[in-house]
Symmetry: C2
Subunit: 250 residues, 2 copies
Amino acid sequence: MNSAIRALIIRLETIGEVTEIDKVALAALPVQERFYTRGSEIIPDGEISTSCCLILEGYAYRSKTLPDGNRQIFSLHTSGDIPDLHSLYLPKMDHTLGAISDCIVARIPHDAVKDALMRAPSLIGLLWRDTLIDAAAFRAWMLMLGQADAASRMAHLFCELYIRQSMAGLADGNSFALPLTQTDLSDILGTSVVHTNRTLQDLRRRGLLDFDQQVVTILAWEELRALAQFDPSYLHYLDRRVGRVDPAKL
Amino acid sequence: MNSAIRALIIRLETIGEVTEIDKVALAALPVQERFYTRGSEIIPDGEISTSCCLILEGYAYRSKTLPDGNRQIFSLHTSGDIPDLHSLYLPKMDHTLGAISDCIVARIPHDAVKDALMRAPSLIGLLWRDTLIDAAAFRAWMLMLGQADAASRMAHLFCELYIRQSMAGLADGNSFALPLTQTDLSDILGTSVVHTNRTLQDLRRRGLLDFDQQVVTILAWEELRALAQFDPSYLHYLDRRVGRVDPAKL
DNA sequence: CGTTCAATTGACTATCGTCAACTGGCGTGG
DNA sequence: CCACGCCAGTTGACGATAGTCAATTGAACG
């Protein structure tokens, strides 16, 4: 089986039951792997998309830029994610999908995905659910953007990324790779680069985490979680482990 | 046909093609109308939902409250909307659905909706699309929360509501009903009540709009749109009129 | 006529943005 | 090899935006 599809199945298994029929249908999907360099656009805002992008390697992001030039990053995506699954039924992009780091992306034509949905109808609920969890993550981030200060927002972001990377098997103990510049980070948090830098220093000084050389290390999970008021239930993992124990021990 | 279902069909027709088969399946949906008083919760955060709520009359909202008590309102909903359609494949609520004003809500069991999807498969794409547009609106609001100041955010909110109410046939010329207190408004904008009040006065003084006695009146659409940097494409209406002309002339 | 709640105001403070400068690493080309 | 530029990260000073606290007004309601 194609390794991109394997990553997708691993992801789907964390949010729902994947039957053998589903797996067969997914395995039959035609994928075309493409390479995108750091900073490049995978699907630009406004484009009418005819395929979905399954991330195989690297970090992708979704963002939109206002006419005045301000940019907000909506989400980050890694191996097994289909950040533009929505394009299946909303083909006109209202934002940009881009590559934060160098990425390998498996592109799957919409027609092929819709074929798979016909052959394995239980995939409908599963993929639909995936787009709904995507929306749930937006709500969680709206809540932080509207109601929390910069330090809490940053803490929340690192909490979410840590849980997601752990669940995807991409965390190494209490560390994970995060190929972001502080400028990127500021476009996620909605704060200026200067303030982002000072907030990060604050979290470091308080011994909550470190973020250096593209690697995040969680140093005090409980304190970080408390500062972030983080509750992972919006990620809607089936797994009962999530949020019950220190993820460092997952 | 039930009037709630009629409102739903009108809404769906603005975002996609609704076939006769779809309409028959929708018309057969069993609905139980319920009344909710202003301020009451329709579906509380954390509940496992077994039905969808189709708004027939009044304004509903979705929100989440942080442990520290801060509340963010994510969206507002009127006649024809199913604000918790996501519960179909994500039954555990990660936020609250509540009534901003007195509301009449038609509740439809999940099983009945899933039955309708079996009988009219083209409904799948249509309803899925509706949940995707819901997510697109979240992205648009995240962009404003992260990147725009209070005046722009307020202008954007009024622009969106005006377009949506116009498309739903609920606007009267350049006015529409909005049964919000300034406290509610502040929970949408992510600003304090005091600042919300001052921002509103600012927009009034600049002659852009008025908001008094639960009625919003747009006084200078183009200026308002420019201040908000508003682009309605994220609402994904099929209708070519949207955004092309002054909505006051729709 | 008192209570309640929404709207409003003033004074003060805190958070965060802007501007500008400086550092250090890293790769490129003379 | 080293000078140079570039970019990410960092710092200080200052200003703008927005929050908090407290008090007042006015309408609605029993």
